[in-house]
Symmetry: C6
Subunit: 241 residues, 6 copies
């Protein structure tokens, strides 16, 4: 229990504009939830976060529930990120949790995953997505146990973790399960900015919560371009709902 | 695990304006969800997609849960598409899954369908509709297993697949089951454009998500004319809700 | 499996303005759903459809779940339709399915109804209402089986069928059960037009979906006058929601 | 099965403005549902309907689930209606169904009530309220059976019946149970007119549905004065929702 | 069964402006529901009602489910009401029903409470709150039985009773349980007035329903000041929703 | 049962602007609920409240369900609050209730917690959060028992307590469980102020309810700065919803 007031070191996200909003990046060791509607770039953000770490000499683990490894690699290649080199050099490890193998996947998350992650000595972890992980359990208690186990395993490993989650279409700033927010130190929302008449204008993100750091509360437009996610400088308003 | 960065070849949809929005067509091998309210042309889009493939020398399979084969053929003939020739030449195969034969249909999807589809060596598959497929199961776990099995069978076959789904009337950009989005690489929404006062103006579509390719995010008006779906050049705004 | 591209012959609805919107009437053999809030004239439309057929020398069957035969006849007489003559000449047959005799009614629909309808050699069938039919089953699976059996019996008989359904008050363009749309080739919505401030202006209908034919997508005002439903020429806007 | 086209005789409601909207009153023998939020005068309308019949030499029955007989009489006396004389002369009979005696009340409605009502030879029946009747059953099937039995008993008795029901606060034109509309020949809604900014302006009623008669579709302001309900001449707009 | 048309005597509420809206006070013997969101002064209104009776020589009973006796007394003292004197002189009796002692509390309400209340010979009764009473039962049937028993006990005692209830946040004019309105002769809503743009302006109350008396239907601003609730003279509009 | 009318002494919150709204602070011994959406500073407010007490020579207990002790200390250090000194001098005690140890945590709250808290002789208690505490129970009855036990233990200890709760995203002024309001003497809402077009403008708080004291009903902007929460002087409007 140290009395030091040194703030946590930051883990740059690989997206300059977002790092600026965060005061340098995610606080190291945080579990950060990224919620968003389909097509807002959650998987892309996760890959970008890991490969940015690889470029800085760090190690990353991608826990994939949504896509098989070849598809995931292809997504990364599309942005010309050196994903194959990273995998070959053992700087990036893709762990596939098949949602069709319900029991095995659940047992793994609630059981050996903690040891696995610690052994991998990763600096960064991405779980894509906790929404699909939640579907493996048929009751609230099972979902809760799984999520707590997952977050606990991430924290125990010492890595900085990013969990993706589908947004609730009725409340796009809330995850579908309504639980993931409880296990996270921060919440990043990928969504749309809206004009006063309610029409969607473009992609925009907002940091809803980030423990142990001050952060921008503006809504920042972003785009998914040929080199990944780029956050614009100009802030916009989110619609109220 | 190839390091090649060649983007996936594209599968033209048979609708020029839509291909343009997609940068040439659906990425080959993708499972694409088409959601829409009743009467927005989901079945028509599916048939058009298959017959466009037939015209290019490809083979298509239409898995029909909603309509019997004669009705489906009639729908295609209405647009003067050479559907009978395609069936005769074995370029188009219509597979009827009768929703009244619940158990058999479910067993087939979760069992032999994968082998069937692979044996057919189809380039394109349409499933019309996963909403009706979902109704065959009485619990969430059954629906999930069926959807994953279906998507897995489509992917394993190597074909590019298009799944249609009813939109949730409360959130017309979301499928009724709220699950189909999870098994899909892309989501195409057929709906309506709305005037600022909320009145519906006309049919309009939007690509909500398409993995492994950049795509237009505009809302494009379209119509269902005597030769099928035609996407207009001019983009419009979707209503917010 | 004929290669003929002759479009389906049309069955005039008995309402000139509606026939125009449909390009001549309902496609023969279609099962068409008519949804609407209470008091929008669903039963009236059904009777008008049948008696228009009688006037053209056709035979009609009215499957009544909501009203007893005398009340139904009285409703028709109010519009001065020659309903008694039609019944006497065996051109119109009213079949009463009593919703209080739950089991018998369900067994009949799921069992002998198909043979009954075929034996009657009707050209037109009306079922008023599938909402009440749905109430006879206590679970989703039962409702689904009943609806599929009903639609199957109608289609097998060769007649053109019109099913009425209560609209969901939250989404007046959707049936209360949310299932009836799946067994129908077309959906006709009876509702209200609304002023920009959301106030109801008057009765208005819209063809939401009609397979195997192009159709108007406008919202057309109508009234229930002394001779039945009359559709106005001038189109209006439906409210968005 | 008479071929006569004589319209049903009318039963004046006791409220001049409402009779005018109905073309003379309720069609004789109809079961009419009156839905409304608390405090809109449903019980008052029921008593006024009965006492108007008494004044015309008819006999009325009030089936009370909400209030005990003394309270009900007091309510009527407040409007200076000769309710005590009516009871003494056997022109008005108050039947109390105590909602605390669940089983007995349900058995009575589903059993002997039909015979009771027929024996009473009433011209008019009021049931206040079916919402409370519905609460006696714990499942949908029980509520449905009770409602059908009640409506059947009313119809079999030959009287004109008025059923009151609480409105759903989310959809003030729909009854809370969503079932009562199915057993009724007509629906009368007691509610509020609203200004364009959504504020309630005053009490207003609308005839939503009335079988076998044309009727006004306007929204008519009314008030509950010292002599009961009075409907104003000037129509107003209801809010949309 | 008296034929007297003398209106019920009134029980002044202790709040001048409210008495004016009611034409003198609550009709004696009524069970009146007071619904409101948290912080709108429901407990305060209940205490004020009882102490106003005490000042007029009447006796009051406060059935407290929310607060312990000392806290309740403290609340009253804050307004400088002579609550301690009232308790000492046996003009005010506080009965604590501890919601943690679920079974005992339920048995008491459904059993001996009627006799207890009658023995106490109170002129006024307050129950604070029926929302907490409802929570003691785990099913709808239990809640209904408890509420009917409570209202029956109040009525049998001859006192005028005031029941407080939490408002449904989605429909602030409806109680959370949606049942309490059925056992009440009147409904008083404590809420907020809203500006045209939907912002809350200040506290405001409305009489939604009051049997056996005419009453104001305006929305009246009020405040909770150092001497309790004060109703302003000027009426305002409630928001629609 | 004292007749003294001395108002309860106040417990300053550590936030000058908030103390002003409360007339000096929370009434001593109150259980106050703080609800808010993620990222509105609930944990920060709790820590600030405790450390403000420590600075005044009081003792505080932090019951943490959301974060482990080291993370919590780090959060406090970030604001340069002397949290380590407080822990060392035994003026601040952090009690960790691990939500993964469901049974033990529940037994503790429902069992020995009361004695524990009393033994600690704390002046101030914070529970962060009751939302997570609620998740430990799988049914409403369990949640209710736990909440009542917790509030009872806090009250019995004589301390002033602050409970944090997640807001319901549909109704940001209501806690997610909808129960916590029942065990609290006051409700403080942390949320956003909104512009007339519905866009969020900035953080803003409101005192919804505070028993036994008058309080400001304005909406006050606040910010989370380098020294903790600061409430601005200028009041703003909350959005209606």
């Amino acid at each position: 229990m140290s009395g030091s007031e040194t703030p946590r070191p930051r883990v740059p996200t690989g997206i300059a504009g977002l790092d600026e909003m965060l005061g340098g990046g995610f606080p190291r060791g945080h579990v950060v939830l990224v919620t968003g509607l389909p097509g807002t770039g959650k998987t892309c953000l996760g890959l970008q976060f890991l490969l940015s770490g690889v470029a800085a000499g760090e190690k990353g683990v991608f826990l994939s529930l949504e896509e098989d490894t070849p598809q995931l690699l292809e997504t990364a290649r599309q942005f010309k990120w050196p994903v194959d080199a990273a995998v070959e050099k053992d700087r990036l490890k893709i762990v596939r949790l098949d949602p069709r193998e319900t029991r095995q996947s659940l047992h793994r998350v609630q059981g050996e995953l903690g040891a696995e992650l610690s052994k991998l000595k990763a600096d960064r972890i991405v779980v894509d997505s906790v929404s699909l992980l939640n579907m493996l359990s048929d009751d609230e208690a099972g979902r809760r146990a799984t999520l707590f186990a997952l977050a606990g395993a991430c924290r125990a490993s010492g890595a900085t973790a990013l969990l993706t989650a589908e947004a609730d279409p009725r409340h796009p700033e809330v995850s579908r399960d309504g639980l993931s927010e409880y296990v996270s130190d921060g919440v990043l929302v990928l969504g749309y900015s809206t004009a006063p008449d309610g029409h969607r204008v473009g992609l925009a993100l907002r940091i809803l919560k980030m423990r142990r750091t001050s952060h921008a509360r503006t809504v920042q437009p972003y785009s998914i371009g040929p080199t990944g996610i780029v956050v614009d400088a100009k802030a916009v308003d989110f619609g109220a709902g």
